[in-house]
C-alpha cells in the first residue's frame, strides 16, 4: 500500500458492494439463450410474426416485466434422483498427436462444397417450393415462424403447420435421430408428429416454468421419448416416455445440451464440479465419465460409439496453441478418449461461449456435421463437415441465421 493508494481508498470508502450477481446471472442466461437460439436459428419475430412474444408470455402472470408462465401440466410424475456411477471413468488428456491444424471459422464460406451428402446447398424454405409428401428420410427441420419445413434426403421439402402458436421465439423444434418424429413446444402443450402425420398432444410436466427470454429445450430420443428442459433459477429436465406411457421423470442434476444417439441413449453434460458427460436411457442415468480434463463441452452430436462437441478452454489469455485453443472435439463415448481435435481461431470465445458453433450429427464413422453462425442473427448459419480422420473441412449447406434448425443425427436408421 502506498499513500496514493490511501487517498484513492479514502475517496471510495463509502461505496458498498452493489450485489449485482443475481442480475448478472439472469442477464448471462438471457444472452446465452438468445445466442443459443440464434445458433439453432432464432426466428426473428419482427420478420416472420406468428410468434408468441414475451408480452403473451407475461400475460399469464398478470404483472408487467419479467414473468414466469404457468402451463397446463401432466399430473403423473415421478422424481428420479441421479445416482452417479460409484467409480466413473475420467477423461484422459488430449493427445497432442490428434490435434489438427488451426482453422478460422470466419472462412467457412471459402470451403469447397462437400461431395455425396444429401443436404441441399440451401435450407432456406423460400428457395424450394413445398411438395405434398415425400417418402425419403427427413434430414432436417427448419422453423421459419409460420410452419415447420422438413427437408428430405431426396432434396424435397414438405411442410407441417403448427398445432398451435409456439411457446416463444427461443424454442426450437426437435427431430428424432432417424428424422421420423418432430417435436414442437407450443403455447399450452408439447406436440409430436410422426412421419408428418397428425400432431399428438403431451402436457408439460407439473411445475414446468420458463424464465423470460429463455426457450424450451426439447430433444427426442430414438424411442420417441421427449426430453424437456427449462430454466428459471436453475436447470431442470424431465423425460416424457413415448406415447404418454409411463411416468414423467424429473432428472435432478439437469444435464444440459443433450444429444440423442441412435442406440436410444441421450448424452448431456453436468457442469460440476467435477464436470461430467452423462448418459441416460428412458429417463434414468446409466453412466457418467468425469470430463474436467477436457474442460467445457457443449452442443454435442452422438453416435453409438462417438461424441462430437464444441470445446472451450479455460485459458482465455492469448497466445493459445494446439489443444489450448477452443475447438471441435471428437471423443470415444465410453472413455472420452480424444479421437481428434480441431482447434479453431476464436479470440473472443464467440463461437464457443456465444453458442454460435454446434456439432449437429455424424454423417458416417468419420464425418461430423457441424454449424457456425457468422454475422449474428441477421447473418448466415453455415453447415459444414469435419472429417475427424483427415481434418478435411467441406461446406454443406446454409440458411438464414434467423431460422430455427433441427437436424436428424442418424436419418433413416
Amino acid at each position: 500500500m502506498n499513500t496514493l493508494h490511501d487517498a484513492l481508498e479514502r475517496a471510495t470508502d463509502a461505496i458498498e458492494a452493489p450485489r449485482l450477481a443475481p442480475a448478472a446471472l439472469l442477464s448471462a442466461r438471457r444472452r446465452r439463450a438468445r445466442r443459443r437460439g440464434a445458433a439453432a436459428g432464432v426466428v426473428a419475430a419482427v420478420a416472420v410474426g406468428a410468434i408468441v412474444t414475451a408480452t403473451v408470455v407475461n400475460a399469464g402472470s398478470g404483472t408487467p416485466g419479467p414473468a414466469v408462465p404457468s402451463l397446463p401440466t401432466s399430473s403423473q410424475e415421478s422424481t428420479t434422483e441421479i445416482e452417479p456411477d460409484p467409480e466413473p471413468a475420467t477423461a484422459p488428456p488430449i493427445d497432442p498427436a490428434v490435434v489438427q491444424d488451426l482453422w478460422d471459422p470466419a472462412t467457412v464460406a471459402d470451403l469447397p462444397w462437400a461431395e455425396g451428402t444429401s443436404f441441399p446447398r440451401s435450407l432456406d424454405p423460400r428457395d424450394v417450393a413445398a411438395t405434398q409428401s415425400d417418402d425419403t428420410p427427413v434430414l432436417a427441420a427448419v422453423d421459419d415462424g409460420e410452419a415447420i419445413s422438413l427437408w428430405h434426403a431426396s432434396g424435397a421439402r414438405t411442410e407441417i403447420d403448427y398445432p398451435e402458436p409456439a411457446f416463444n421465439e427461443h424454442s426450437a423444434p426437435a427431430l428424432s435421430p432417424d428424422g421420423s418424429v418432430v417435436a414442437f413446444a407450443g403455447r399450452s402443450a408439447l406436440w409430436t408428429s410422426t412421419d408428418g402425420g397428425e400432431w399428438a398432444r403431451r402436457a408439460y410436466p407439473d411445475g414446468f416454468q420458463v424464465a423470460p427470454d429463455w426457450g424450451v429445450e426439447l430433444d427426442l430420443d430414438a424411442d420417441g421419448g421427449l426430453l424437456v428442459g427449462q430454466f428459471v433459477r436453475d436447470w431442470r429436465s424431465w423425460y416424457l416416455p413415448s406415447g404418454g406411457d409411463g411416468a414423467t421423470s424429473r432428472l435432478e442434476g439437469a444435464p444440459y445440451d443433450l444429444a440423442a444417439a441412435p442406440d436410444g441413449a441421450l448424452l448431456g453434460f453436468l457442469g460440476g464440479p467435477p464436470r461430467q458427460v452423462v448418459e441416460f436411457r428412458g429417463g434414468e442415468q446409466t453412466s457418467a465419465v468425469y470430463s474436467d480434463e477436457l474442460q467445457s463441452l457443449n452442443r454435442p452430436a452422438a453416435t453409438d460409439d462417438v461424441l462430437a462437441a464444441v470445446r472451450g478452454v479455460g485459458n482465455w489469455t492469448p497466445p493459445r496453441e494446439g489443444a489450448e485453443e477452443n475447438g471441435l472435439i471428437a471423443v470415444e463415448r465410453d472413455t472420452l478418449a480424444t479421437r481428434a481435435y480441431l482447434p479453431i481461431r476464436d479470440p473472443h470465445d464467440s463461437y464457443t461461449d456465444g453458442g454460435t458453433m454446434a456439432a449437429l450429427a455424424w454423417l458416417d464413422d468419420e464425418t461430423v456435421l457441424a454449424s457456425v453462425i457468422l454475422g449474428g442473427t441477421p447473418g448466415t448459419q453455415y453447415l459444414f463437415t469435419w472429417n475427424v480422420a483427415t481434418g478435411q473441412l467441406s461446406r454443406v449447406s446454409e440458411l438464414p441465421a434467423a431460422l430455427l434448425l433441427a437436424v436428424a443425427s442418424a436419418p433413416g436408421e
Binding site: N2, H5, A7, R10, E16, S27, G271, P273, W316
Partner: protein
C-alpha cells in the same frame, strides 16, 4: 453452471471492482454499468474462469469497455458533472473531491493505468495485460500520470500528506 461459485466470487469481488471502475470513470452510475456488464461476461464464461482468475478477467472487461464507452461518449454527448456522486462514494467528501479533481487532470489512458497500478495494486505486467498494452506503455503512462499530479494537483499532495 456453478451458480453458487459465481455468486460467492462476485460477493467477494464486486465492491473492489466497483470502486476501481468509479475511479476510472468518475461516474458511479457508469461504473455500476461497467461492473454489471463485466459480471455478465464472467458469468457467461464461468465454467472456464472459475479455476483461473475471474477478477483479472473482470478488470480487463471494465478497463476495455470503458475505452469503448469513452470514445462513444465523446462522439455523442458531453460529460455531466456527477457531483452528487461524491457524497455517496466517500465518508470524506472533501477527500473525494480532491481525488476526483486530480484524476480529472489525467488523460483517460493515464487514469486507467494509475487506478490499476495504485488502487488495484496490479504489477506493471498485470496492468499491461488488463489494458492490452505493452509494459513499456504502462511505465510511461504511469510516470506521466504521477508527474501531472505532482505539478497540477497540489491539493492531492496535501491530502496524501495528511494520510502519512
Amino acid at each position: 453452471m456453478d451458480d453458487q461459485g459465481f455468486t460467492d466470487w462476485a460477493a467477494g469481488a464486486e465492491r473492489a471492482l466497483l470502486r476501481s471502475a468509479y475511479l476510472i470513470t468518475g461516474d458511479l452510475h457508469r461504473a455500476e454499468d461497467l461492473v454489471q456488464e463485466a459480471l455478465v461476461k464472467v458469468a457467461l464464461r464461468w465454467g472456464r474462469l472459475a479455476a483461473g482468475n475471474p477478477t483479472a478477467y473482470a478488470r480487463t472487461i471494465i478497463a476495455r469497455d470503458n475505452v469503448s464507452w469513452w470514445r462513444r461518449l465523446r462522439r455523442e454527448t458531453s460529460v455531466e458533472d456527477p457531483a452528487s456522486d461524491r457524497s455517496s462514494t466517500s465518508t470524506d467528501p472533501e477527500a473525494a473531491l480532491v481525488v476526483r479533481r486530480a484524476l480529472d487532470r489525467l488523460t483517460p489512458a493515464q487514469r486507467r493505468v494509475l487506478v490499476l497500478r495504485h488502487f488495484d495494486d496490479l504489477s506493471e505486467r498485470e496492468t499491461a495485460e488488463a489494458l492490452g498494452v505493452s509494459v513499456g506503455t504502462v511505465k510511461s503512462q504511469n510516470a506521466a500520470a504521477l508527474a501531472r499530479l505532482r505539478t497540477g494537483a497540489p491539493e492531492l499532495l496535501d491530502l496524501i500528506g495528511e494520510t502519512r
